[in-house]
């Protein structure tokens, strides 16, 4: 198995407005976040028309770009380009993870210092703008969460269940579609599946976060299965906090753990925290949006396997 894959990515977002936009402000989550399993070699963002740009870090540690454009414009193009090395992640023995109830109970307040891991994970256990906590979600996942089942096994079962029971149908949902509706209709896109899975996990008292990124259109895994779904656009999957391993990324859209095909950009409580490009405009009238993502595997000329952690 190849231990590292190098990608060249391009993510173009084009807005066309029917009327002039007088002023617009945007928040961009387009810069890849450093992680143990990935390294960004090069990154650039090109904005037309040019605006006032400030780079920073958001509350969850993701790189964020704030943009204000105060010249009248009728279109906006944001092109993000990057080269990223993705390293293989170890296969985790699911049976060695803690029983899920023990993990959930471990979060309970005991009037003692919770420790760094629980503090970090504890931010991702509650309701967030798109994800509510409800008994319906806990019940939907009931057959995956047998008493005493190791958490990773349960979470993988939940991933299989969502993949098996939901249809991937782009265009049937929007960002306004609620998780409850997705659960009802059993269809949607990667973002919806991630939200459903997060809702199920949190409704059982567990910590889960939303990962925004890209997935390669042709599988590079050595398992030789079909091409991943969700290429050509931003992708999203779920990260579950699984002691003793830590955060484990699972992709319910493709029914497999995130690995060499996945490039992570940012994570947060749900889509609202890490939307790739969010903004408000003054004027503009109706608008149309085009998004184009190309993920290209390139050769590693000076590959230094194992150079990164």
């Amino acid at each position: 198995m190849n231990g590292v894959v190098r990608y060249r990515l391009q993510h173009v977002t084009r807005y066309a407005y029917a009327a002039e936009v007088m002023i617009s402000q945007h928040l961009l989550h387009l810069v890849p976040r450093p992680a143990p399993y990935q390294r960004c070699l090069d990154h650039s963002i090109e904005v037309t028309p040019a605006g006032h740009r400030v780079d920073g870090t958001d509350a969850f540690g993701n790189p964020i770009v704030r943009l204000e454009i105060d010249v009248p414009h009728t279109s906006l193009t944001v092109t993000s380009r990057m080269e990223v090395d993705v390293h293989a992640r170890p296969r985790l023995p699911a049976s060695e993870s803690l029983p899920w109830e023990r993990v959930a109970d471990g979060f309970r307040y005991r009037a003692v210092p919770p420790g760094r891991d629980l503090l970090d994970a504890g931010r991702f256990r509650y309701e967030s703008p798109h994800v509510h906590i409800k008994r319906e979600y806990a019940e939907f996942a009931a057959d995956c969460f047998a008493p005493g089942r190791p958490l990773l096994a349960a979470a993988e079962a939940l991933m299989h269940k969502i993949h098996a029971e939901f249809r991937y149908e782009p265009g049937t949902t929007t960002i306004g579609t609620s998780v409850a509706e997705v659960l009802q209709e059993r269809r949607g896109v990667c973002q919806d599946f991630a939200h459903v899975m997060i809702a199920c996990l949190r409704s059982r008292g567990l910590a889960a976060r939303y990962v925004s990124g890209y997935v390669r259109g042709v599988s590079s895994s050595d398992e030789g299965d079909s091409a991943p779904v969700g290429a050509g656009a931003s992708h999203a999957w779920v990260s579950v906090w699984v002691p003793p391993f830590g955060w484990v990324d699972l992709d319910p859209t493709n029914d497999k753990p995130a690995g060499l095909d996945h490039v992570a950009i940012a994570w947060g409580r749900d889509f609202a925290d890490v939307s790739p490009l969010r903004g408000t405009i003054l004027g503009g009238g109706h608008h149309t949006l085009e998004v184009e993502v190309t993920v290209e595997r390139i050769a590693i000329a000076d590959a230094r396997p194992g150079a990164d952690r």
């Binding site: 928040l27 309701e127 008994r135 939307s275 969010r278 408000t280 608008h287």
Partner: protein
């Protein structure tokens, strides 16, 4: 219980007022005697005519509230009774000796909550140390992660803090809840005090009641205090708008604090700086007193679906360029879940013990607490831990066995989302009853007191809002919704005239905050135009009613009604008053006028609203015959004149006022020129009866008779209506005033604008005017000449109006906003 015996000095009838053994009584002590701090009030009200005093106070209160209510009602709906409060003029008294504890306790609590916010949005040490459960802040919808790491420009998270307090059966005060994001109630407290000052002036003066106005003056100073070296700091009250249920309070508070009232669309962020869009262009805003929930304040970084906020506001906060009262994210402390944790938090953050206790509260996220709650459901009331859980408090004692089991399952499933509190038997206070006006009834009370940042600490307002439960029996905190209010009087030690205390010297002269939002100015302008339009149409229609039965006059009247839009078709004048389908008809104009009035309500006095209400009543009424129509129109004319008079006389004469007057001048110029042109083209205009009728439609007959000895004739009428520089209805007068106002506006908004009418008004010499009276072709040719120059004038007035709109209200067009995601 036996009827309490009163000392002879206190003859005010207690009536059926009774103590209740289970609760503290504010008025009576354990022996049933009137407590000493109430005796002064009882003596001053208690004379043989005590009943009359009560009746008068209650009536006057009702009237004053209704007047204020009309002032702030959406669309000034005359039936509108949606005021959230009623006021019982009998105050709630707080003995001088009790105040120091409450004052110190609330100031301490404000410091504590401020420090708690700084930790939650900063290092989060309390969570790391296990003092605060992560669930309480992180599970709260108003914990705004986007605000994590922010450092408020003022160094404070809280500027205004309010607490609800109640007295337990042992007589001690308990804090029921904390209000930390946009505490409401101060406007009502101020209004209540203002009303009670009017209805019970005697006792308020003689009893040594502490004043509350000074604290609000100092709040204004605090809001205008800014680290930036700016000569003219600007503070603005942000309201969700007139449809908000507490809009009254926003407008009232803005007025009392002397701050501009703005909606989200009146404000804009450019380059991390907040600006108010005003007539003079963009004005930097240093402080925002928000009455909008924090997650709605910035659609860019917070709730994307908010149309009420200001995109980029958080960026301005992050850059330290604007102070928000209270800072975004402070709503996280509005949860009963905090109450049980405040003592250790105070220990940790301040090294102090809490002076005032909170009502006993268990947060179910802690296992021992959950077990306790499940075992004692009968004694507890279960409430949501977070404000987005929509359920009413559940009283354990009232549950069936099945309900109890169901609740227990819910508590076990998501324990961190529930809190339990013990029942609190509120104290009771006397209320002037509804029946015999002076009979006292006992009602449960709680009080809301506000605290303002001041110097390094907090100043507690010595007074506030007492809230009364709707029924005598209500004894639980959460059922007091829908009750009334009272003014809370904090008494001084020695009832003496308060010593004069010179105000602290302000670092700079407080500057008049005359920066009014351009949206408001636009509405003032249209208020001026529609007011003049409705007035002129009403007079015309009234004259038209009088012209019925005089065929020649009638033809003229119908033509005039048509050209002004009063009649869409036909000649039914009764219809003109009732037809609200005609977009150019009188009812439509009045409707638009009332709408504009609603938009500028903060600028209008109570007198205006009485006039508006009268107008609406008139239009809603039916008019059976010509006589009723005529008198209805007379009344309408009176109301419209009164409205214009109040608006022009009672308003600060700033740029907004000037644009209102410009609106009136432009409207009147246009309509007078247009109508006179039509008259001049009618052959019958030479008839004295026709001239007389025309003068009447312009409300100028009286003036004509004073000025000219002759019977009504065309030339003198035109002299009066076109040339006269002193008659307020004449084109010459209107033109001169318009030019002057336009020049002033140009100077006021600091723009080198030389705006004027493109077509000057005609000013024919005497011989030309007399020549208009010639018979035959020569005369009609001359009349046509004057008519066409009047047409040009009307067209020029319309173009001027468009230019004014484009120049001064241009910001409005940019308000269409969209959210992308």
């Amino acid at each position: 219980m036996p009827t309490p015996s009163l000392p002879p000095s206190v003859p005010l009838a207690l009536g059926d007022y009774r103590r209740d053994a289970g609760r503290h009584d504010e008025l009576l002590d354990d022996e049933g005697r009137v407590r000493s701090h109430w005796q002064g009030l009882f003596t001053s009200l208690g004379n043989p005519r005590g009943g009359a005093i009560a009746r008068r106070a209650i009536d006057a209160t009702r009237r004053l509230i209704a007047e204020n209510g009309v002032t702030y009602n959406v669309y000034a709906d005359p039936q509108g009774t949606d005021r959230p409060w009623t006021l019982d003029p009998l105050p709630l008294l707080l003995a001088a000796g009790e105040w120091p504890t409450i004052e110190a306790g609330l100031a301490q609590r404000a410091r504590l909550l401020d420090a708690l916010l700084a930790d939650l949005y900063g290092p989060q040490r309390l969570i790391a140390e296990g003092i605060v459960p992560a669930e309480i802040p992180f599970g709260h919808p108003n914990f705004l992660w986007a605000c994590h790491g922010l450092r408020p420009a003022s160094g404070r998270w809280l500027t205004i803090y309010a607490a609800d307090l109640a007295r337990g059966p042992d007589g001690g005060w308990w804090i029921l809840s904390d209000r930390t994001q946009a505490p409401s109630g101060a406007g009502y407290a101020l209004e209540n005090r203002e009303i009670v000052e009017q209805v019970l002036p005697g006792p308020l003066g003689t009893l040594g009641v502490r004043r509350i106005g000074g604290a609000f003056g100092r709040l204004r100073d605090e809001l205008l205090r800014t680290a930036d070296d700016d000569d003219a700091p600007l503070a603005v009250v942000l309201t969700p708008g007139p449809y908000n249920e507490t809009y009254f309070e926003h407008a009232y508070l803005a007025r009392r604090l002397g701050l501009a009232l703005a909606e989200g669309s009146d404000l804009t962020v450019r380059n991390d700086t907040l600006y108010l869009k005003t007539l003079r262009g963009l004005r930097r805003v240093h402080t925002l007193l928000r009455r909008l929930d924090d997650d709605y304040c910035d659609p860019l970084e917070l709730r994307g679906d908010s149309a009420l906020g200001i995109p980029g506001l958080l960026g301005a906060v992050r850059a330290g360029r604007v102070r928000i009262t209270n800072e975004l994210g402070s709503g996280v402390l509005e949860s009963a879940a905090w109450l049980g944790f405040l003592p250790p938090i105070a220990e940790r953050l301040l090294g102090e013990r809490l002076i005032l206790p909170s009502v006993a509260t268990w947060w179910c996220g802690e296992r021992p607490a959950l077990e306790y709650v499940l075992a004692h459901l009968d004694e507890l009331v279960i409430k949501p831990a977070y404000p987005n859980q929509r359920f009413e408090p559940i009283f354990g004692a009232m549950l069936s066995t099945a309900g109890r089991a169901e609740l227990s399952a819910r508590l076990r499933a998501f324990p961190h989302t529930y809190v339990a509190q013990e029942y609190v038997s509120l104290s009771q206070a006397p209320v002037w009853g509804q029946g015999a006006p002076h009979a006292l009834a006992a009602k449960a009370v709680s009080i809301r007191i506000q605290t303002h940042a001041s110097g390094d600490g907090f100043e507690v307002v010595p007074g506030g809002l007492a809230r009364i439960a709707p029924s005598t029996a209500a004894n639980i905190v959460s059922t007091q919704r829908g009750g009334g209010s009272k003014d809370l009087w904090v008494l001084r030690d020695a009832p003496a005239a308060p010593a004069f205390v010179p105000a602290a010297v302000a670092p700079r002269l407080p500057r008049a905050q005359d920066d009014i939002p351009s949206r408001l100015v636009e509405n003032l302008y249209w208020f001026g135009r529609y007011g003049a339009r409705a007035e002129d149409k009403t007079r015309l229609l009234r004259s038209a009613v009088g012209a019925q039965g005089y065929p020649r006059l009638w033809t003229t009247a119908v033509a005039q009604c048509r050209i002004t839009g009063l009649l869409a078709d036909g000649d039914d004048v009764a219809q003109a008053l009732a037809d609200d389908q005609n977009p150019f008809g009188l009812p439509s104009d009045v409707r638009r006028l009332v709408w504009c009035a609603g938009q500028i309500r903060e600028r209008l006095s109570a007198g205006c609203w009485a006039a508006v209400a009268a107008m609406q009543r008139l239009l809603q009424g039916s008019h059976a015959d010509d006589e009723e129509i005529a008198s209805g129109l007379d009344e309408l004319a009176l109301s419209l004149t009164a409205l214009a008079g109040f608006a022009l006389d009672d308003m600060t004469q700033d740029s907004g006022w000037r644009l209102l007057r410009i609106g009136r001048s432009v409207e009147r110029l246009q309509i007078t020129a247009m109508r006179l042109a039509l008259h001049l083209r009618e052959a019958s205009i030479m008839q004295p009866a026709q001239v007389e009728w025309t003068l009447g439609t312009f409300d100028s007959l009286r003036m004509y008779r004073q000025r000219y000895v002759t019977a009504p004739r065309l030339a003198p009428m035109l002299d009066l209506l076109v040339r006269d520089a002193d008659h307020p209805r004449s084109i010459g007068f209107l033109h001169r005033r318009l030019e002057a106002d336009l020049a002033r506006i140009g100077a006021e908004v600091e723009q080198s604008v030389d705006d004027r009418l493109e077509a000057p008004p005609p000013c024919p010499p005497d011989e030309d005017l007399l020549a208009l009276e010639q018979a035959g072709a020569a005369g009609s040719e001359r009349r046509e000449l004057l008519a066409s120059s009047l047409d040009e004038l009307a067209a020029a007035a319309a173009r001027l109006s468009d230019r004014i709109a484009a120049r001064h209200f241009a910001h409005i067009a940019l308000d269409a906003r969209a959210i992308l995601s």
